[in-house]
Each structure stands twice: as C-alpha cells, then as structure tokens.
C-alpha cells in the first residue's frame, strides 16, 4: 500500500474526473482507456488501509494526507476517520485539526459537504477528543 501511494503520485494521476458534487469521483490509477477503472469503494478501501497501518510514521501520514488532498475529490468520512486515528497514534493533535481544515477547504463552494463530514465523524471526534476548527474559533479570521 505504501508502494501504491508512491506509484500514484509519481505518475501524477492526471486522468482525474471533473469534480462532481458527490464526495468522491471514480479515479483510474493508470491513464488507460482500456484498463480497469478502480471503483470508489476500492479507492476508499485502499486509503483506509493506508492510514490504518498500526505503526504508521509521521512521514507516511504527511505523505498520505498531502497526496489525498491533491486529488480532485473530498475524501470520504471513513478515510478521514482513519487518518484522524493515525494522528492519535502519532500523538499529533495539530495535524488532526489541520486535516479537518483541509477537507473543508477541499469542498470549495460546496458548503454542504463539510457539515455532513463532521456529522459522520462526530463519534470519532468525541471518542478521540478532537475539537473541530469551528469549536476552537479557528474558522474566523
């Protein structure tokens, strides 16, 4: 899975679909017109597995998040959940809050996505004790 992330970023993954209002869009891991297109579920599962690595290190977390944010999609709640738990294992509260800010920024003009994500993540946020940027007053200048 680590290699998979490398392969994705090194090919640039430029064959991205235009962003749709849905949370994630189909993504081909190679730019083949004849090859197999990865389904949304496979994409999500791959990323959940990536962040679920028990001994994930800080570099892998950063690399994963930066790559994920580079895609033309807002990550599913389960991927963000997995990433937040990785932050917990790394004792990195700041990164957890940053991840929430980043996915809100990814949603762009689609203002309904972020509240939905927070709603889905609420059990995890309560369990891990992560405050949202709104609760900390960070969303105001």
């Amino acid at each position: 899975m680590f290699r998979a992330v490398f392969r994705l970023s090194s090919t640039g993954a430029r064959c991205l679909v235009r962003s749709k209002p849905s949370i994630s869009a189909p993504l081909a891991s190679r730019c083949y017109s004849h090859g197999r297109v990865e389904t949304d579920e496979e994409f999500d599962a791959r990323w959940v597995t990536y962040f679920s690595k028990p001994d994930i290190d800080a570099w892998e977390l950063r690399k994963g998040m930066n790559t994920l944010i580079g895609y033309d999609l807002v990550p599913e709640a389960k991927i963000v959940d997995s990433a937040l738990r990785a932050c917990r294992r790394l004792n990195d509260m700041a990164s957890a809050i940053r991840i929430l800010e980043a996915v809100k920024d990814k949603a762009g003009p689609h203002k309904e996505i972020y509240p939905y994500l927070i709603q889905e993540l609420q059990p995890t946020l309560s369990e891990l004790g992560i405050s949202t940027p709104e609760q900390l007053g960070m969303d105001q200048l």
Binding site: R62, N66, M93, S95, E101, S131, G137, D139, L141
Partner: protein, 176 residues
C-alpha cells in the same frame, strides 16, 4: 509573491522554489551590512499551502519548556486538553490557519495603480517626444494632400463592394 499557482499535484517534491520564512529561520541575504543567513533549502521547509496541509516540518522548531510540557500532555487523552491548549498545539505546528492562508489582500489595487501610473508616465513621455523629438510630418499628411488622396481612392473605386468606396454615394457626391 513567491507562490506559484498550484495546479500540478505530482510535483510535490519539486516545489522547493516556494519559500515561507519561518520565525526561527533568518532573512534572505539582502543587506550587506547585516549578518544574514540564507535559508538552507536542502533541509525540509515549512510552508502554508492549501494543497499541502501537512508541511515537511513543524513550524516552531525551538520549543520552550512550556511547549515541551504541552507536547507531553498531548500524548495523553486529548479530551483533557483545553481549547487554548489545543490552539497552542496547532500554532506550534502551523503558522497560519486555512482561513488566514486564504484571505485575500488589497495588493491588486496597488498593482493596478502602479500599472496605470507607468502607462501615464509613458504617455507624458510620448507627448513630449512628439513635440520636441519627432521630425516634421511628411507632406502627405497635410489636409489638402489627404483630401486629394481620398478623391483618388474614390475615383479608383477602392473596395467598392463592402469597403471604402462602398460608403460613398456616387450620385449625390457625399458619404452615405
């Protein structure tokens, strides 16, 4: 204004040209009389970018004892951290929040003003040039010459269908 427009994700590694000055790294070598250190670009750098939520290094390198104890507390349950502590932890790792990063500036007004000013200055220079530098105009620019030229063009029926002579009413002897 050193930021490049971030369009390409695949070049994460290549984006070493953008620089964000951190509190602990020194200023770029610009003044001869100050002792200044250049930013070491071979080491991981910090920058606030929308598309790179977690930069290569933490913002604050030098931690005070209070910061260190906060970091120790971070290893425990996060529910025990107060909001101020959570904010302090964030500010240790990051310089600007996303809203701060994304805020627009009024720089464009200065840029437009500067551009218009330069264009105005150039205009003044050109006016001065036509008055004092340019040689007299050729005689073919005289009004009388131009009138004869137009008459000749009409007699030649220059562009008679849709162009020049088409605009002239030959019966009435005037422009249409």
């Amino acid at each position: 204004m050193l930021h490049l427009t971030a369009g390409h994700v695949g070049s994460l590694v290549a984006r070493r040209a953008t620089v964000a000055l951190t509190t602990n790294s020194a200023r770029m070598a610009s003044h001869g009389h100050e002792v200044s250190e250049a930013v070491d670009m071979s080491k991981p750098m910090y920058w606030d970018r929308r598309e790179i939520p977690l930069p290569d290094k933490r913002y604050k390198d030098i931690l005070t004892p209070a910061d260190k104890s906060l970091k120790e507390k971070e290893k425990g349950p996060w529910g025990q951290l107060s909001n101020e502590e959570k904010l302090a932890l964030y500010r240790l790792s990051f310089c600007q929040t996303y809203p701060e990063m994304n805020q627009s500036s009024s720089e464009w007004k200065t840029v437009v003003a500067g551009v218009l000013y330069c264009i105005g200055l150039t205009g003044l220079v050109i006016i001065w040039q036509t008055a004092y530098v340019s040689p007299p105009a050729p005689r073919s620019f005289d009004a009388e010459w131009q009138a004869k030229q137009v008459k000749r063009m009409l007699d030649m029926r220059v562009s008679p269908i849709e162009g020049f002579a088409a605009q002239w009413d030959y019966e009435k002897g005037q422009w249409k």
